[in-house]
């Protein structure tokens, strides 16, 4: 399971990559593996939207299931990945790279403290498998 060290994670399997006040958001390798072949991605927030942490920001459908992606931090959407609607399989092939879903300007930097480090997330994944 790939859990890059320079990303932050949520218990609902989103990742966050920070660059100053800008957070790039996607879903983890674990999430894509659980979903299996992804056939549809829709980012439901648009550029300029402000939303609170926990808001559904995207939906993913695979051959097995449909899942919501929750916004890991509150903020204003500054960019949306337009490629995913045409090539949803990027979520399977490059979850931490080309399958980024949206970039958000963080409104409350203290929320970052609530996210998991890569070490915490790896431990969380181990404990979760039952």
């Amino acid at each position: 399971m790939n859990v890059p060290a320079d990303y932050k994670y949520t218990a609902s399997d989103e990742w966050v990559k920070l660059d100053g006040k800008i957070a790039t958001i996607g879903v983890s390798d674990y999430a894509q593996e659980q979903l299996s072949d992804v056939v549809f991605v829709e980012v439901v927030l648009g550029e300029g939207d402000s939303a609170k942490k926990g808001t559904t920001c995207a939906t993913i459908e695979s051959v097995k299931a449909a899942a919501d992606v929750n916004l890991p931090v509150s903020g204003k959407v500054i960019q949306v990945n337009e490629d995913l609607s045409k090539t949803p399989e990027l979520v399977n092939t490059d979850p931490y790279g080309k399958a980024w879903m949206l970039k958000v300007e963080i409104s409350d930097p203290s929320e970052i403290n609530g996210l998991m480090s890569s070490a915490d997330y790896e431990k969380f994944l181990q404990d979760r498998s039952h």
Binding site: Q34, D37, V39, F40, E61, V63, K64, A65, P88, E89, S129, H130
Partner: protein, 488 residues
């Protein structure tokens, strides 16, 4: 694809029908509606009949074999149901006839309403909804109408346990509610702490499936209902799993306010391609006035000499019609027949044998497969279709391999709270030999998974088409084998 399509069987000039000469004046269609090129298949009648009869033989159905599709209750549909539905008095009546001329059909619907009320413990039933999810949608609209009638417009949140049926969140969202998932505890029950935490003044209600999609009866159901009621919410019961409870537990007695019945599951009307479905809704006393109509009632009491006169009424604050006329009347006839043939004792036996069959099957496969919630199950159970020591074998491989053993695969990848879920419901209509041979196939497959996993990865081997490309099927939505030349 080895089978030819009807278009590929076409031969220019071949005809199935010879129309008689026109003996009335004709008018040409306006030119803009005419097209030069319309390549419809050209075949003789016998070619068409053979083609579709052949395709139907490739299909798998409950008349042919075991169909353990969890949560769908694919029980055998008795032929007496069909005989009754074909009686001319039922088959050829029309809902626009004067009520005096269709008293038999109205009496049947009235009596079916009464039976469903008695079976599930409700004050009134509407037969209108066309299927299970339609019944859910209707039920949730009734909940909304109730809250609105009390001026409680702030109640916008619908609680849905993550062990509920997948249609529940959709029905709530379509009705305008905000969906709040509630976690399941380690025993497979609703997590009471999570439920209490979610119960505030914005709660409209809960949609609960009991037995839930793990096939488990919620041990705290009375407390769950009480918590929601105390918060001012209503309790919706998803009746899809009623087969496990017939004659034993009445959802209305538990305190459930509104529930849909799946006549096509519990009451043996055809299901899945052979439908249509039928999803009547039952409600407690306080929700009666909101039911969709028309509801069948006695509009003139009878006496010793005259039978009562049946007719229609619309509840006073009805959410309105949800279906044209009376719903799927043909299904009402079949369900009425099924209930009448069984009687009270027989229905109880249905539930007892459904639960016994599921537990017998579970006892045979336990050990070979992981059982995440290991309890006595109700009418179905959920296994993990994965093995720690062969990580590349998945539930889908097991499901596909079962087809090589001539069984319909179980429901897979649902419920979502079980990894690689295989959800198995044998129903009461299967005998011991059938269940034994299915158990043996499951045990063989578990062995094959370890010894020759490629057998599973490449399955099915014996079906008319091999493993389908599900990604292509989901993404490349071209269902037509022929496209006009200038189409995109």
């Amino acid at each position: 694809m080895t089978e030819k399509t009807i278009f590929e069987l076409s031969s220019p000039g071949r005809k199935g029908v010879e129309f008689p000469a026109v003996d009335v004046p004709t008018t040409d269609l306006p030119a803009e509606f005419l097209r030069e090129d319309l390549p419809l298949p050209e075949l003789a009648e016998v070619d068409v009949i053979r083609h579709y009869t052949h395709l139907s033989h490739l299909n798998y159905c409950v008349d042919e074999g075991f169909y353990p599709l969890g949560s769908c209750t694919m029980k055998y549909n008795p032929r007496v149901n069909e005989a009754m539905a074909r009686l001319p008095g039922f088959a050829y009546c029309h809902p626009l006839q004067p009520v005096e001329s269709i008293q038999g059909s109205l009496a049947l619907m009235y009596n079916l309403q009464e039976m469903l009320k008695e079976i599930a413990g409700f004050a009134e039933v509407s037969l209108q909804p066309a299927a299970g999810a339609h019944g859910e949608f209707t039920g949730v609209m009734i909940m909304r109408a109730y809250h609105q009638s009390k001026g409680e417009t702030k109640r916008t949140k619908m609680l849905i346990p993550d062990s509920a049926h997948g249609t529940n969140p959709a029905s709530s969202a379509m009705t305008g509610f905000e969906v709040a998932p509630i976690a399941t505890d380690a025993r497979g029950n609703v997590d009471l702490a999570a439920l209490r935490a979610a119960c505030d003044e914005t709660v409209a209600g809960i949609m609960i499936t009991n037995p839930n999609t793990l096939g488990l009866f919620d041990e705290n159901i009375l407390e769950v209902i009480d918590i929601v009621h105390k918060a001012g919410g209503l309790v919706y019961g998803d009746g899809a799993n009623l087969n496990a409870l017939l004659g034993i537990v009445r959802p209305g007695d538990l305190g459930i306010d509104v529930m849909h019945f799946n006549l096509h599951k519990t009451f043996s009307t055809p299901h899945g391609g052979g439908g249509p479905g039928s999803g009547p809704v039952g409600v407690s006393d306080k929700l009666k006035e909101f039911l969709p109509g028309p509801i069948i009632s006695i509009i003139e009491e009878g006496d010793d000499e005259m039978p009562p006169l049946f007719g229609y009424y619309q509840p006073k604050n009805s959410i309105g019609r949800v279906k044209s006329f009376n719903g799927h009347f043909g299904m009402h006839v079949r369900a009425y027949t099924y209930i009448s043939m069984h009687g009270a004792e027989g229905l109880r036996q249905v539930a007892e044998l459904a639960v016994l069959n599921a537990n017998y099957l579970l006892s045979k496969v336990r050990g070979a497969y992981k059982l995440p919630y290991d309890r006595v199950c109700m009418h179905e159970f959920v296994l993990e279709g994965m093995f720690d020591d062969v990580p590349d074998v998945h539930a889908l491989d097991i499901a596909k391999r079962l087809m090589d053993y001539d069984f319909h695969p179980p429901t897979n990848y649902f419920p979502l709270i079980v990894h690689e879920a295989l959800m198995i419901e044998p129903t009461e209509t299967e005998n011991k030999q059938v269940i034994d041979s299915f158990a043996e196939a499951m045990l063989n497959i578990a062995r094959e998974a370890h010894e020759s996993p490629e057998l599973l990865h490449e399955a099915p081997h014996k079906t008319p088409v091999r493993r389908l490309d599900e990604v292509k099927a989901a993404k490349d939505l071209v269902l037509c084998c022929w496209l006009p030349e200038n189409s995109e």
